[in-house]
């Protein structure tokens, strides 16, 4: 069962494609990351999912329905641009947002207390929003998104502007929600956020999806990376067999191996040529993968041999 299916949506602004021919399938109970640099079209995509923007082409189905008023109660949405009523008290604003999601008042107050203590802001319950720090406001807005326990939760850049501790807190909450069977779609421009959190990722660049799928499969597909640091001439690099690509930074080299190549063989070849100071077999980071794909499109500027 899929929580969200996007079929070939496109959106043009002033003749320029913000999102082009974008498709996505988000399985229920998964955490799906939409990754890409600033201006890639992440927020536009999310706004189209939320029906705030209407796609020029294509179709979006949430739990097999087009967006409608009843569906809205099952969705939680944290927009990229944050904002709360400055003059309202924390619990007032939380209960207002929850009531608008069709939650009954009797449930709301218990939930507010639960979540406020979870994020460590229970004693701020009766304070006005304007008295809170920016980070606190952001956490309040985060829980306002999930208070009504929606089945599909959409976070646009949930970690933007948060310190590492709070980032981890939110990640933990997201993982808990997943355990409860909720589906989470989120966007970020910082790839490292997605590494341990996401079951699935889609990488988008300049309005187009460049890659999507299960994170583990993507990583497997991109094989292992070798990282070498050494003293001496790097001419030996041409003699290594079974290599897909080399990112050459002088005395520091990242090597992308063919899937069947054994790093052990490479070590044997290299060890006689130069004095190694570092030899590491690593999974490629999402960052590497993204840069690789993007640079392939840009005529492989990083490839330097």
């Amino acid at each position: 069962m899929n929580a969200l299916i996007i079929h070939n949506i496109s959106k043009k602004f002033n003749g320029f494609y913000a999102v082009k021919d974008f498709s996505l399938t988000v399985p229920q109970g998964s955490i799906y990351g939409i990754l890409g640099p600033n201006g890639a079209g992440k927020t536009t995509t999310i706004r189209m999912i939320m029906n705030i923007l209407i796609p020029d082409e294509g179709e979006i189905l949430i739990f097999n329905q087009k967006m409608n008023e009843t569906l809205k109660n099952k969705i939680g949405y944290l927009p990229e641009e944050r904002g709360l009523y400055r003059k309202m008290k924390v619990y007032e604003i939380l209960s207002y947002f929850a009531e608008l999601k069709g939650m009954s008042r009797s449930q709301i107050f218990q939930k507010i207390d639960e979540w406020l203590s979870r994020i460590g802001l229970l004693e701020w319950k009766n304070k006005k929003v304007e008295e809170l720090s920016k980070g606190m406001q952001q956490k309040i807005q985060f829980i306002s998104t999930i208070l009504h326990s929606p089945n599909l939760i959409i976070f646009d850049e949930p970690f933007a502007g948060l310190d590492p501790i709070n980032t981890n807190l939110l990640k933990d909450i997201m993982l808990e929600l997943k355990k409860q069977g909720k589906t989470i779609l989120y966007s970020t421009h910082l790839m490292e956020h997605a590494e341990k959190l996401s079951d699935y990722v889609a990488l988008i660049n300049k309005g187009k999806k460049v890659l999507d799928g299960k994170l583990s499969e993507i990583k497997a597909k991109f094989g292992k990376n070798l990282i070498l640091e050494f003293d001496g001439d790097n001419g030996f690099l041409n003699q290594i067999k079974g290599i897909k690509r080399i990112y050459n930074f002088g005395r520091y080299v990242e090597i992308e191996l063919e899937r069947e190549t054994d790093p052990q063989d490479v070590l044997k070849t290299v060890i006689n040529k130069v004095k190694l100071t570092k030899f590491e077999v690593a999974e490629p980071s999402l960052n590497d993968i993204f840069i690789r794909i993007v640079s392939e499109e840009k005529n492989e500027t990083y490839k330097n041999y």
């Binding site: 705030i52 923007l53 008023e69 949405y77 904002g83 009523y85 608008l100 069709g102 807005q141």
Partner: protein, 430 residues
């Protein structure tokens, strides 16, 4: 069917939540409390107090010394100068000062001192030639007290007349009866009913009510504008739209904020009714019914109509602008539309059925104020009132439709303000 009605209830529930939140946000504000309590106070200060002061300024009896060289007039004068104060006391107390013509200057000097010390209000000298010359002298610190002067004049004249007529053997009372002038009372006819009122007090009462109507429509309209702008700038609007739709959001705001306005007026009406009861109990001799009940009902109706009409315009401005400054700029023409009726107010009061007033009262943007003016001066035929109200309602429905189209797109647009052509395009979108 059941599912559908359930859906309808759920949808309505959200609208009610929005109305409730917008309503409470305003009603809980300190400024709301202050303006709700302060306005009737100011109104009282402007309307009720002058009436009270004018009618019950404590009037004291006036002591007047009289030097009567004729020796006859004083007696008559005390009888003729017999007006009573509200307390039942006589308004004037006369004291005869006996003197001779040689000593008169001395006496006058001591009287001057006594007037200065306020022992006497003034003194009167009736010379021997008074009957032939018809001249008397009155000395007082306050010679612009026209009432006293007129009353003295009349009383002295009457006394002389009586003396002269007595000598001829004719009774003054008979002549007075025969010569009595009639008094012309001015009574205004309103809807076939009679109503006592002066032009001035009516004019000020009307201008006050119309200004209040203007201030309320403008004030609550501006509140909607700023409210939308706040949600737009703080980007709360996206969260709200993920829970509800733009039409519900807009209507929730208009109804919630309008509701706060109605609440304020109901409180005012109650306060006014209570204070009128109180004051008419305390001062039964004063008539406090300045505005008729129908006038107040029409005030209510035209506030609601005017508010709905202009709130849509203010909602558009809030939705298409990004800063307070920009919004104020666009709001200025609306303020002018509301001010125009004031420019013709004097004309309307003098001739409420003049062609300009009649035409303006049927143009929906002017109807609330101009029609209200006309009604409160000389009610036009009922069908005219009804027609203007219907026209107003149709315009409101049309404007709400247009506004919802613009609002839906505008609240999510940041940056450059859309041009008029772009707005037209938005209205044409599905």
């Amino acid at each position: 069917m059941i599912f559908l009605s359930e859906l309808l209830v759920k949808k309505k529930m959200k609208l009610i939540k929005i109305i409730k939140k917008e309503y409470l946000t305003i009603v809980k504000k300190k400024s709301f409390l202050i303006s709700t309590l302060l306005t009737p106070l100011i109104m009282g200060a402007f309307i009720i107090l002058p009436i009270i002061f004018a009618q019950i300024s404590p009037e004291m009896h006036k002591k007047i010394a009289v030097i009567d060289f004729t020796g006859e007039i004083f007696q008559e004068l005390t009888k003729n100068l017999n007006r009573k104060l509200k307390t039942g006391e006589p308004a004037y107390k006369l004291f005869e000062i006996k003197t001779t013509e040689n000593e008169v200057e001395k006496v006058k000097e001591s009287l001057r001192e006594k007037v200065e010390k306020k022992e006497y209000y003034g003194y009167l000298i009736l010379n021997k030639e008074i009957i032939s010359k018809r001249e008397a002298e009155y000395y007082s610190k306050n010679v612009s007290d026209l009432q006293t002067i007129e009353e003295l004049k009349a009383a002295i004249s009457d006394s002389i007349a009586k003396l002269l007529l007595q000598k001829e053997g004719i009774e003054l009372e008979k002549i007075k009866k025969a010569m009595k002038r009639i008094e012309l009372k001015t009574i205004k006819i309103v809807k076939g009913k009679e109503k006592k009122a002066g032009f001035l007090s009516e004019y000020f009462g009307l201008i006050f009510l119309v200004s209040l109507l203007f201030a309320l429509i403008l004030g609550y309209g501006m509140t909607i504008m700023r409210n939308i702008l706040e949600e737009k700038n703080s980007r709360i609007v996206e969260v709200l739209l993920s829970s509800t739709n733009s039409f519900e959001l807009m209507m929730g705001k208009i109804l919630g904020i309008g509701g706060a306005g109605i609440t304020q007026m109901v409180i005012w009406a109650l306060l006014i009714a209570l204070s009128i009861r109180y004051f008419s109990f305390r001062f039964p001799q004063i008539e406090f019914t300045i505005f008729g009940t129908n006038i107040l009902i029409f005030f209510f109706i035209f506030f609601i109509l005017g508010f709905f009409l202009f709130s849509t315009l203010f909602a558009i401005i809030g939705a298409i602008t990004n800063t307070d400054y920009e919004a104020q700029q666009l709001a200025a023409p609306i303020t002018w539309i509301l001010i125009i009726p004031f420019l013709i107010a004097i004309m309307t009061t003098k001739n409420p059925n003049g062609i300009v007033s009649v035409i303006l009262s049927f143009i929906p943007f002017f109807t609330p104020i101009v029609m209200f003016m006309r009604i409160s001066i000389t009610p036009p035929p009922f069908y005219e009132i009804l027609a203007s109200i219907l026209l107003e309602i149709i315009t409101i429905i049309f404007l709400i439709w247009i506004t919802s189209k613009i609002f839906r797109i505008g609240i999510l647009m940041y940056g450059k303000r859309p041009s008029f052509q772009e707005l037209m395009k938005w209205i044409k979108y599905k």
